[in-house]
Symmetry: C2
Subunit: 716 residues, 2 copies
């Protein structure tokens, strides 16, 4: 077994090596002329300054949590938390460091050819993606190896489980802050800059006279790159951990336990290698379709992964397994069932990608209907966008429902876990698709500000439009996998509860607890569902308000600069870009704290309140239901926000490229329809880039906190 765990870690190291080698190659590319380098340097500086401040602020919260975990659970747990938090932060930082260097080189490459621009932008995304996957795998597999082989703990030992769950918590806590802080920064800059620049001053997007321009580009890097990287790191690590925890609980008594614990790690390891191969398959074909080139890579990765898993799973699962023996959920299955579950995970990924592309791509009914609605005004644009955002939740939810039924019938609750792991194992490649977007967005901004010829902007715009869709697609993937991952965490919660109740020492908290039923006919379960259900709505409301406030402060600042320094408008004086960055930094860090702590505090507060009213059994049932409530409404809120936002964004792009409405009238840039579409895009910005994606770590953090709460109570 130790041989294979080492292979897994080797796969993680390989991913990091890929990152290093590709980064070196990237840095050898031309960073363009002096003007471009100057702009890029300003973006770099702002992004680094922001992330340093953000991580310093998070570190304060992190240290408090670290100390609390040390005293409440123990050293292994605290160490796990530290590893998760540091690696999650590192993944975010690395994502930012790469993208602020890739942006200017992509702008330069785009001035040579579309193929070269695509190659550079995608490579930088792939570096981030594989670093994220590599860090996560090294972290989880390395700590697991340390605990079981260096410390000699049994694979299913509570110290191992608590340590791994704490690692997931560290990753989650950092990622919710990073997602939210970065999201508030980027959309505060974007919305605020557009309002005062495009609407009031009448200057184009990315115009160097706008004091918020650098901040806008900084935002792409700290929000869409760093925040997203931390988020996917978290989903990857947490899903792997949750699957391992389930394995430890289900198969604690089986001789196969070490192999099964290894299974999720091995799946991830194998798929890192297929992802690396897939990155080389991204090549602009004769058709010149950018999306086609990216999908080619995704398909190669998927097919190779399927083949690899066909060999891998039977090698580890050498005999039939049984879960939930003696309960209505009992299920016996063999390695082939688990292989089919992993295939289900890949199919779910493919379907969610297709559905999201349908709702956000420029060629399909939803985006076209939003563009058409823009013709009759701002109001109808927003109505149609909201209608599409609501509708867009149905098909992904049905896919997830079918996925649950199929995998559950194949291999019980463990089947759902393996499908989710397989889905997540492609994260290395999927992050590459996602990180591609902000890099091309930045490249366009740099081209504009540096006054490169308009053809360059056309090339970067083509890349950027694809980036909008891939960003939406990967968000759909992240949320779908987070929803399934959260179900695995919920299963871990219920199974952990059974374990603690069955193994309670006399006089301890769990002593005499008995069975906890999560039956919907228990009003406390309904209370939990409703309480959990309100969290994504409240969180969404708070984060939307935060973006509004941050944007407002940007508007005030940019207006002040225009007013106090008339030379800015004539182009004689450079605006003070740093001031806008600075103001947003403060606003984002201030605004991220309260909403991020909401999901951390909620399960704890709810547990103690219900415990005081109705006792332990109902309190555990209520908290469990709360987890499910967060998953259910969170899934819909997040999908509706990210899909709706993507549709609005691309409806604007459709009109900018010249949209012929149902009466045959052509609408283009600057038309009334375009203004209406800009309104929709502005609304969609915080929807798709702040609130929606942040719901994702939010769902999981509530689940992990509940798991840790059990561990803490078990010590009492």
């Amino acid at each position: 077994m130790s041989f294979t765990l080492e292979l897994v870690i080797a796969a993680g190291v390989l991913a990091v090596l890929y990152g290093i080698v590709q980064t070196a190659a990237l840095l050898r590319e031309s960073p363009g002329n002096a003007k471009m380098q100057e702009i890029a340097a300003a973006i770099q500086e702002g992004a680094q300054a922001y992330l340093k401040r953000q991580y310093t602020a998070i570190a304060i919260v992190g240290v408090v949590v670290l100390i609390a975990l040390y005293f409440l659970i123990g050293g292994y747990s605290a160490a796990g938390f530290l590893i998760g938090a540091v690696l999650s932060g590192a993944a975010g930082f690395a994502g930012m460091l790469i993208s602020v260097r890739a942006n200017v080189r992509t702008a330069q490459a785009a001035s040579e050819s579309l193929a070269k621009g695509l190659k550079l932008a995608f490579t930088s995304g792939a570096i981030t993606g594989l670093l994220v996957a590599g860090f996560a795998l090294i972290g989880v597999a390395g700590y697991y190896g340390y605990l079981t082989q260096v410390q000699g703990l049994a694979p299913a030992d509570r110290h191992v489980i608590d340590g791994l769950v704490s690692l997931g918590f560290g990753a989650s806590l950092i990622s919710i802050f990073a997602r939210l802080g970065g999201g508030i920064f980027t959309k505060g800059a974007d919305v605020g800059g557009d309002m005062v620049g495009k609407v009031e001053a009448g200057i184009p997007e990315d115009d160097p006279r706008n004091a918020a321009t650098i901040a806008d580009n900084v935002g792409d890097n700290v929000g869409d790159c760093a925040g997203m990287a931390a988020d996917l790191f978290e989903t990857y690590a947490v899903t792997t951990v949750a699957t391992m925890v389930l394995a430890a609980i289900f198969f604690g008594g089986s001789a196969l336990l070490p192999s099964i614990m290894l299974l999720p790690l091995a799946i991830c390891g194998v798929c890192i290698i297929t992802s690396i191969i897939g990155t080389f398959a991204v090549r602009l074909g004769k058709s010149g379709s950018i999306m086609g080139a990216l999908y080619q890579g995704l398909i190669v990765t998927g097919v190779l992964s399927a083949i690899a898993l066909w060999f891998l799973i039977p090698a580890l699962v050498t005999e039939p397994l049984t879960v939930n023996a003696g309960t209505p959920l009992e299920k016996t299955f063999d390695s082939m069932s688990l292989f089919y579950c992993s295939m289900a995970g890949l199919v779910i990924t493919a379907l969610i990608v297709m559905i999201t592309e349908y709702y956000t791509g420029t060629n399909f009914r939803p985006v076209k209907s939003v563009a058409q609605a823009s013709v009759s005004g701002h109001g109808t644009n927003v109505i149609q966008g909201l209608a599409m955002s609501l509708e867009a939740t149905a098909a992904p939810a049905l896919v997830i429902i079918v996925g649950i039924i199929v995998t559950y019938n194949l291999a019980g609750l463990f089947g759902i876990a393996i499908a989710t792991t397989a889905m997540l194992s492609l994260a290395g490649f999927v992050v590459a698709l996602d990180a591609f977007g902000p890099v091309t967005d930045n490249a366009g901004g740099i081209a504009e500000m540096a006054g490169l010829p308009p053809e360059v902007r056309v090339t970067t715009d083509a890349l950027d439009a694809v980036g909008n869709t891939t960003k939406a697609v990967t968000k759909g993937y992240a949320i779908g996998s987070a929803g399934l991952g959260a179900l695995v965490l919920f299963a871990a919660y219920t199974e952990d509860l059974k374990y603690f109740a069955a193994n309670a020492t006399p006089g301890s908290f769990f002593d005499g607890l008995g069975a906890v039923a999560f039956d919907l006919s228990n009003p406390y379960v309904v209370v939990g569902l409703l309480f959990g259900g309100l969290l994504p709505f409240l969180f969404g409301g708070m984060s939307m308000t935060a973006v509004g406030r941050a944007a407002q402060s940007v508007v005030v600042e940019v207006r002040r600069q225009f007013r106090e320094n008339p030379g800015i408008m004539t182009g004689e004086v450079k605006p003070e870009y740093g001031r806008a960055v600075d103001i947003l930094t403060k606003a984002a860090i201030r605004e991220m704290i309260v909403p991020s702590l909401l999901p951390v505090a909620s399960p704890i507060v709810l547990f103690f309140v219900i415990n005081a009213i109705a006792g332990k059994v109902d309190a555990f049932a209520c908290v469990g239901a709360m987890l499910m409530g967060v998953i259910v409404t969170g899934l819909f809120v997040a999908i509706s926000m990210t899909s709706g936002g993507g549709a609005w964004d691309n409806a604007k792009k459709v009109i900018e490229e010249g949209f012929t409405d149902s009466d045959g009238v052509l609408h283009g840039k600057g038309s009334e329809a375009h203004k209406a579409a800009v309104t929709g895009d502005t609304v969609g910005d915080p929807y798709k880039d702040t609130s929606g994606p942040a719901v994702n770590p939010m769902i999981k953090i509530t689940n992990i906190v509940a798991l840790l709460l059990l561990a803490v109570l078990a010590q009492q």
Copy 2:
């Protein structure tokens, strides 16, 4: 017992008599000058024509369902369905008939004094409210009396239960069509008329040159009056029925059963009388506060109801009762506990009214923040409105959560039912507050079109602004009570299931079913939750799209009339108002069918699919969870839509009255901020008047269909 049931029916008759007497008084008021009467006649004609067509279309669906019920369950069930459907339709029709006569008289009264305008508008609302409550009470109590006393069936006989549930189904089916059809009509006219009139042609709202003006006023009557009346009729009838069904199941073996079955009816009867008294307490005080006058009436009604219930409940519940004996949910309680539950219902009503007023009233942070956000543009207005709409769900959900915990601890599941009944028993008065809004809205429109002096419009505008808040407030009440009512229906589903399983004849469908657990650790329960959760989102998306399409067809028609007949713009030629009414009628009826059938078909389809995959037990569990999923997401979706829409509407009103922003700049009608606020208002229109309120019957219809599904399966 029969004596008291007759008293209940007498209270219902009294409500109808109140309606008849007040209507006669109303009709004696002056209907204004010839021009006003001409306009009012056009609105009347359009509204009647639409409702006739709508009810004809619904009747086709209704007859199919009637025949199906007759053959699947039996005659009592079919008759109940017919009673519920006909009375629900009658309530809607009556609401429309009153309001199309009250509007012009209110316009005339407003030209005399504010106090007189208020009196007339409120009286017309009160007529509708008491007719709704009276019809519902006569229907439920009358049919129950017929079944138990004329037919001699036992109160807990399955024929009685099935008959009452079918009565609820009839009410629900009509009400979802009426809510949705009316909502699509009214908002299609409103959004479409504003877009082409205000935005394109630059003419004010309600300008007689706009061909959609009459249709807009027709919409207020068929949507906000008739649709709302049908909806509240449904909530009232269904809640009473659900409480009676729970009583029959819980206390089937108790000697007190007849009294307990009567309890919800008696509560409603008593509160009809207190509501009538309350309507006389609505008087404009020295302060001239319209809202104050309305609240005065509500408070009088509430206090008198509390006193009456203090006497009523102990008179019927003469000894302690036990529910769910032998299960973890077992609870014994006495009449005082039930009295406290009814008080909890009144307190929940008061709190929800206060919270909704906070989120939609012009004096508080949310509406002011939306007005402030309008200053920086369309996009920020919409962002802030969405933020508020999301945030607005949290406090009502917490109130409901606390309400569930308190009433459950007082009297188990039956306590929740009694609290909901008490909450609904005020419907007579609450509908009066709601129906007040569209009447004043219409009065303003008539004043504008008839060219009455501007002071009249100022008076009607003051009434209308209050109407916006009361409409939002009563929607919050309707949804809160629907959420609780749905929980009672869910309890009826689970208890019914137990009953059928325990009393199955050998070889029947329920034979050997055993216990059905709705445990969240069963994946089919999760599947049900997710499937139920997606319904309100999908339904919301479909209905928003429908409004957009209807509005689009209005835009095309009004544009055509302006183009083909230039005399309209100069005021020489009257536009063809009837054409716009006609087009909307067709659009609304066409668009209402599919979304309305979604919640009817869903439980049936889901049951048979899961039954085929996993068998009966999991299929019942899955359908049960689906009901809960609809309740959970439906509650949040509906509250966010109605509160958000109210906030947008009043933010526009705040700016129209002159809004001083945080920089001290004044914004008024026609300013850029006002245009942004109009966009928000347009978005909020279908949110608050179509999709949001229609979610309300949608939640309940899924629950009732599931209950009927059990009854049908029990016959197999």
